[in-house]
Symmetry: C2
């Protein structure tokens, strides 16, 4: 099945290759009769332009890549926000996944592959420090995510600490005094889970309350299932608690299940707040209070930074912290 090229169309229509190209791109006027012949030839031969060749010739692909650790959940949501913004600039968006298979020849983030795109939005969630340092390319690139990244690179991340503080403070106002930080981790490096723990701490300090490291309950691996197990463990241990700040809504779901099986009513006995404002949080009775991660804002900043970077390689790097907000639902008793 040989590919039909412009040369084939040109021969069929009795014109030169350039005329075919001109008909296709509409960059030059072509006489109507000639144009008609060319279009007829294209149609009868089933011609389709070879974008690979066009890209090589043009030196650009008009395509932006969003590279994520996995396609589902959070990243799929953000991608859907980003897509129309990229298309509005006349470019295409494609998603790629960082292969979870570092031993393979396909590197998880092949710099060569970035060459294919005019710009790259790279989620740093799946990358370690070394991989981050290797991302030293001339390509316009914007990093997304909660880790520390080199200063020289544009970066958009969430206000994780502030979101966690908002949620925790809200439950404290509602009377909570022993708040589990479920799915959070100790430690001072900037990761999603430790930033959110820091917000939990800050809420306590601002309220003049002590906080107890025993209330920081990591969830590893990160799933609703394990979260459910951890809450069971805490209940079994006898550690008293009257609220749970879950580092994500997925974690909160595990807590919902564990609380339900022990008959601990939400919010009367235990308040509960999550982070991510998944759709489901609106519908799981009694409605789960959650920090909205502002997908639109993140998407908007990311695309804006990338666009700016594509226009000016030498612009100073920007580091954006996208604000978040608390969506209050039935699972908390908060103030106000």
């Amino acid at each position: 099945m040989p590919m039909v090229t412009m040369a084939d169309v040109a021969r069929e229509a009795g014109v030169s290759v350039m005329t075919v190209s001109n008909v296709l791109t509409e960059r030059k006027r072509v006489n109507d009769p000639t144009k008609a012949r060319v279009l007829a030839a294209m149609d009868s031969l089933g011609y389709e332009v070879n974008l690979t060749a066009r890209h090589l010739r043009a030196g650009r692909t008009d395509t932006v890549a969003l590279i994520v650790p996995s396609f589902h959940d959070y990243f799929g949501e953000v991608a859907d926000e980003i897509a129309p913004l990229v298309e509005a600039e006349g470019r295409h968006l494609v998603l790629e996944r960082t292969s979870a298979n570092p031993a393979s020849e396909m590197e998880s983030v092949s710099v060569a592959r970035l060459q294919m795109y005019d710009g790259v939005l790279l989620s740093v969630a799946g990358l370690d420090r070394e991989q981050l340092d290797r991302v030293r390319t001339a390509k316009p690139i914007v990093l997304l995510g909660e880790r520390d990244v080199p200063d020289r690179v544009d970066h958009v991340r969430l206000a994780n600490e502030e979101g966690a503080r908002l949620a925790t403070a809200h439950m404290i106002e509602g009377g909570a005094r022993r708040v589990l930080a479920l799915g959070c981790t100790p430690g001072g490096e900037h990761t999603m889970t430790s930033d959110r723990r820091a917000g939990w701490e800050l809420a306590h300090r601002r309220a003049g309350l002590p906080y107890d490291e025993r209330y920081v309950v990591p969830v590893e691996p990160y799933s609703s299932h394990v979260a459910q197990d951890r809450v069971r463990d805490v209940i079994a241990s006898g550690l008293p608690f009257d609220a749970i700040f879950a580092a994500t809504d997925v974690i909160a779901l595990g807590a919902v299940a564990a609380l339900a099986e022990h008959g601990l009513r939400v919010p009367e006995v235990v308040q509960l707040a999550g982070f991510d404002n998944l759709d489901v949080s609106n519908f799981v009775p009694p409605g789960i209070t959650s920090v909205d991660p502002n997908h639109q804002g993140v998407a908007g900043h990311a695309v804006r930074l990338l666009h700016r970077r594509m226009a000016d390689r030498d612009a100073p790097a920007e580091h954006i912290v996208a604000p978040v907000s608390l969506v209050v639902r039935g699972s908390t008793r908060g103030g106000h």
Copy 2:
């Protein structure tokens, strides 16, 4: 910022372009000292191979595209299953979204863009009949989804009717006699929502029970929110029901919320079953019975068909119906 090419590296290393290419592709032996010089030159110049050029030269891209109507939810999940299978064949997977903007110059499915890929997995969910007919390309392509598609094309779809039948029959065995078909649609054409309604019907017929078209409650637009409203409407109308088959788990979530606000206990007063087996269905108390859509099976068939098609353009088209299974949880009382 001029791109560094093989010619630059060759000049720097004092060799020919071909030697650089040979070092890069390892297709021919190159003397160690020469190789070292070339590698050093690549490193110092920051050379990265231009994949666009390589692809043009090679006539293939070693890349497969999965084209979906949206990145989140169902498609993100399937994509995560497909990715490792494609990578196992030594190819890359990228996701593209069918633009929701048909008026724009970018067609929702540009056949030209398909040229960029060695193979395409195309979800037909977002396409109308006319768009489907236009997909008349020589590219290896496999269609995914619940619509009727032309016989000549490879196609993988779910056993929607069978899944709906399983879920409904299970609730009938558990004593249900008035089962809402929420989010289902009447009509005989093959769509996801009408196939699932057909399964609901079939379960009634097999059980020797009558079914009443008033119990088919469409949800439009498709969201938990609207589903919640529809269930409210039904309750307000006084139409008696003792079970809900929800066409998707997202729809089921809306039902959960509506039932909770009316104090209708699940499963004591109303049984509930969904379709998709989302993670959340495991954790929303009391656990939502759901049809597992067999992402792995769908992914496996899709990749297998595509692989076969890439190897043999003239193979007869296959139409696969991937089997599903019922995951029973607390929201139903079913038999057995």
